[in-house]
Amino acid sequence: MKIDFRVTNPIATSIPLDYKIYKQQQEQQKQNEQQQTISVPVTTTSEPIKKRTNRSEEQFRQIFMKTGVVSQASGSAYIEIENTKVICSVHGPRASPKTELFESAKFSCELKFASFARPGERIDYMESAKEKDLSINLRQSIIGAIRLEKYPKTVIDVYVMVLNDDGGVLVAAITAASMALADAGVEMYDMVSACSSICIRNQSISNGSNGSGSGNGSSGAAPKVQSSILLDPTLQEEESKDSLGCVVVAKMPSLNEITQIIQTGELSYNNTIDGIDLCIDGCDKIYSIMKQNLISSLEKQVSKKLE
């Protein structure tokens, strides 16, 4: 039986590649042939990271937040970190559909990407492993902050929709979700703010190490990789071949407690600690923006009621 009634195209379609890159590859091949060296297959399509020009390594992108964007939800928030756009709505605390008794509220999170959220191929409507993973991480980061014991026999659902992904989706999702929960009036110990940093291999060093090739890895101690840590990476920085690893920290700033640290990739001890430190500072800054936003939205609500 057909369960999914969405419209699909019977013809398989594809996204054309960029002609500029193709031309560059052709020229490189020609050069290689002229020099009569062994032709190296041109496979790399990911461009090297451009150095940040409009902001320093420890600077955020511009952040815009707004609460109360969805009229039908108990609480909602929209957050925009330059091109990363995320909307979140909270339903509940509402009565659970099952009649079973439990002493604290059930809390569930779901994160979805819009099919057009990422560059390249469209994202499937069905939940992917990546979305599931992000949902679980999101839940883990926030659940510690909510006073679930205050709402027995209820459920609280958080739904996050990623409209445009340009890096830092989890950061945006955590921030949006805690703003939305605050907007819904759910009791929390503190709002959770999140921040991410990325460790990147420095350009000049990477060119040198490319020549030595992977065969030399076994001889002696591994060459020390010079790296720099960037705050708030974009999608291009996240997915580039030069990125060594990524750290995401979720924190309750006024309690000074960390709710979640996610570290991926291969990072040295010092790099990880530096990355976490940078994120913790970033969390505090994001928190102050969140607080400001909530206060101003509350002021607006109050003045509207007085009118």
């Binding site: 369960i3 999914d4 009634f5 969405r6 419209v7 699909t8 195209n9 019977p10 013809i11 398989a12 379609t13 594809s14 996204i15 054309p16 590649l17 960029d18 002609y19 500029k20 193709y22 815009f64 707004k66 964007v69 969805v70 009229s71 039908q72 939800a73 929209y78 925009e80 330059e82 091109n83 756009k85 909307i87 979140c88 709505s89 339903h91 509402r94 779901e110 979805k112 819009a114 099919s115 057009f116 959220a117 990422r118 560059p119 469209r122 409507y125 659902d157 739904y159 996050v160 929709m161 409209l163 445009n164 992904d165 340009d166």
Partner: protein, 294 residues
């Protein structure tokens, strides 16, 4: 007052409608403010965001390429009714927009809306040549239009039609290059990013308008509560020559011819305003290439 509204919503509405006004302060013929902004999603080939009152819909268009089906292909798979389609519309009404929807599978409302919009898109009179990838038309662009409802407060049909219209107006297609390689391999397709992009020529405008019947009163641009209480919904879509593209009535009571004529007349009156709205949003955004906040 609030208790009365919750317990006897229909009576509550009657009290207002007798005085030709609605609880939210609108007159019976008044529609909510429409906001359209385009080009806010960078990962799409064209996007738009439409807000009618609190109802908001975001649309994104992704373009992909495939061989243009030939006549012989058509006859083989003729049972597939959307064979010649080059545009595919999908509507998602997830739990984000309202707590009445679940995330597991598309709701029935989304499905019916989806099929209506898919047939409407073919009424847009976009020439086949507009979607040619190369000059000869051997390959063509296929447009996938995805609509996400972000806030459901009634009258989704109008919001979706406007979102499709403005998103398609916002579409920018790059010039295609076909590189024929050796005979056995399939030719490679590339887009030329150095040359200027072209936008689609859309032959006509779609002017949607939804009405609701509540206690024999005809209400324009219904909110969610009015849709819930109503005894019937009339959806009309005109093109810019005032030909009817869709006319849909669903409800538990029958309607008289007079009411239908009234609806058609009201939709006609509003057409120039809607056309201006769509045109304006596309021209202003092109000039200032900023991010648009919801």
């Amino acid at each position: 007052m609030e208790a009365f509204q919750k317990v006897h919503p229909l009576e509550f509405y009657k009290k207002f409608l007798e005085r030709s006004v609605r609880p939210d302060g609108r007159g019976l013929d008044c529609f909510r403010k429409i906001n359209i902004s385009t080009g806010s999603i960078m990962t799409t080939d064209g996007s738009s965001f439409v807000k009618i009152g609190n109802t908001s819909v975001i649309a994104g268009v992704k373009a992909e390429v495939a061989l243009t089906p030939t006549q012989s292909d058509n006859s083989i798979s003729s049972n597939n009714n959307n064979n010649n389609n080059k545009m595919f519309v999908n509507v998602e009404m997830g739990p984000i927009c309202s707590n009445i929807f679940s995330s597991s599978k598309p709701s029935e409302k989304a499905m019916s809306l989806c099929s209506q919009l898919n047939s409407l898109v073919n009424r847009l009179e976009i020439n086949d040549k507009e979607l040619y990838f190369d000059d000869q038309g051997k390959y063509s662009w296929y447009l996938y239009i995805d609509l996400y409802c972000l806030d459901y407060n009634g009258n989704l049909m109008d919001a979706c039609v406007l979102a499709i219209m403005s998103a398609l107006k916002n579409v920018k297609l790059p010039k295609g290059i076909v590189v024929e390689s050796s005979a056995s391999e399939a030719p490679q397709l590339f887009k030329d990013t150095e040359q200027p992009m072209r936008s689609l020529n859309i032959g006509t405008y779609l002017i949607p308008q939804t009405f609701v019947l509540l206690n024999d009163y005809l209400l324009t641009d219904p909110s969610l509560e009015e849709e819930k209480l109503s005894s019937g919904t009339i959806s009309i879509t005109f093109n810019d020559r005032f030909e009817i593209c869709t006319l849909l009535y669903t409800g538990i009571t029958s309607i008289s011819e007079k009411i239908l004529e009234q609806c058609l007349e009201k939709t006609k009156k509003r057409s120039t305003e809607i056309i201006n709205l769509i045109d304006n949003c596309c021209t202003t955004i092109n000039n200032s290439n900023n991010n648009n906040n919801i």
